[in-house]
């Protein structure tokens, strides 16, 4: 009896440590994104970037919606709703791919400047590029979770991978919540 109790307690402990570890990673990653954020204002000051605002709003909405479905997936796995979990996870991944298509495909494709074109180019491509790279790694993470999910590896009691991948995805969303207004909405010409 007590050994089962011990393993539950030790799982809780491992969970707590894993969570802390992941948040420490987020803190560290946040410094990197923070550095790029400061660069935007240091190099460009109060100048606005010449970007397509409609496209910016569109990709932001896509990412926000993907976060919604990711949360949904996480809730469903904890409620033993396997079909709902898989569906929501797949939608999240599809929306994530759409975001990459929107930013790397459309935004980068139609930008009026290149990465070498002065401060504006450097700031825009570095910030969106770094963020997009995190979206890509997030999608890889989610694909692994999807594969494991399809193999029925997750239970309401033990699904830390889902929670962790969801947190990573939301972290990427949080970065974009700051980067979007800073790049597309702030500043005067």
């Amino acid at each position: 009896m007590s050994s089962i109790n011990n393993s539950i307690v030790s799982y809780q402990r491992k969970l707590a440590i894993s969570r802390l570890g992941l948040w420490l990673f987020f803190t560290s990653d946040a410094f990197m994104f923070g550095g790029l954020l400061v660069t935007r204002f240091y190099l460009l000051g109060n100048k606005s970037l010449n970007l397509d605002r409609t496209l910016g709003l569109l990709v932001t909405s896509i990412l926000l919606t993907s976060s919604f479905f990711m949360n949904r997936a996480e809730v469903m796995v904890s409620e033993r709703n396997h079909k709902g979990f898989i569906t929501s996870l797949v939608i999240t991944i599809l929306l994530g791919i759409s975001f990459l298509v929107g930013v790397i495909g459309l935004e980068w494709g139609s930008a009026h400047f290149g990465p070498g074109d002065g401060a504006e180019g450097a700031v825009f491509y570095m910030m969106t590029g770094m963020h997009a790279f995190h979206v890509l790694t997030g999608l890889i993470f989610l694909s692994l979770v999807l594969r494991n999910g399809l193999n029925k590896k997750y239970t309401p009691e033990k699904h830390y991978a889902v929670e962790a991948s969801a947190n990573y995805w939301h972290f990427v969303d949080v970065v974009w919540i700051i980067y979007y207004p800073v790049l597309y909405l702030m500043g005067t010409m």
Partner: protein, 201 residues
């Protein structure tokens, strides 16, 4: 209600943001050398590269950016005129409320036609002003423009040393600001953007 602390924090942040966003107004700092109080811009009437006369007092309602230079100028004038062209482009619609004026410091060589030809390589809406040396001497004096002919040996003929400031007259015909040559494009555009918005033109 374990989340009440969170919502309280949210409301506080929203309140601070709204107060500083809507209620508190940060005064705008001009990037140029402000003339405070603004003085009525000294009147002049000169020959225009666009034909006929250009009378300053008939231009109220528009902001006027004036530069004193000459067409044989090797460096300062072309760069400043290029900047003026950029300023006009950056302001987009708002540029309708500005007139860009180039007053010569070399009336001997800068005729109306000469100015028209010279300015056409920058922007055809720019006004090039000339006149008799006596008329222009009064304008140079009124605006504090330094002007001195430098004889040279080369084929360019003589050069003219001159003040390189930009002068800004507001829509009420008052001389309100000058910009040193080193002022950046962004700074001038920022000021003009603010002034035009404020004047509600």
């Amino acid at each position: 209600m374990k989340n009440s602390g969170f919502w309280f924090l949210l409301v506080v942040i929203a309140a601070v943001g709204i107060v500083f966003g809507f209620v508190v107004e940060r005064p705008y700092t001009y990037r140029g050398s402000l003339i405070d109080p603004a003085v009525p811009a000294p009147e002049f009437s000169l020959l225009s590269s666009q034909g006929g006369d250009y009378r300053l007092d008939s231009r109220t309602g528009k902001f006027i950016l004036i530069f004193f230079g000459y067409t044989h100028c090797p460096d300062v004038c072309p760069t400043t005129l290029y900047e003026m062209k950029e300023i006009k482009a950056r302001l987009k619609d708002k540029a309708e409320n500005i007139e860009f004026v180039f007053v010569t410091v070399d009336p001997e060589r800068d005729t109306q036609d000469q100015l028209k030809r010279y300015l056409s390589s920058f922007d055809e809406s720019f006004f090039g002003l000339t006149g008799s040396t006596e008329q222009l001497e009064m304008v140079w004096k009124d605006y504090g423009v330094y002007r001195e002919i430098q004889e040279t040996d080369n084929s360019l003929g003589y050069l003219v040393d001159h003040t390189s400031r930009l002068y800004l007259i507001n829509s009420q015909g008052e001389l309100m600001m000058t910009y040193l040559y080193e002022t950046t494009l962004d700074e001038i555009v920022s000021d003009l953007n603010y002034l035009i918005k404020k004047a509600d033109l």
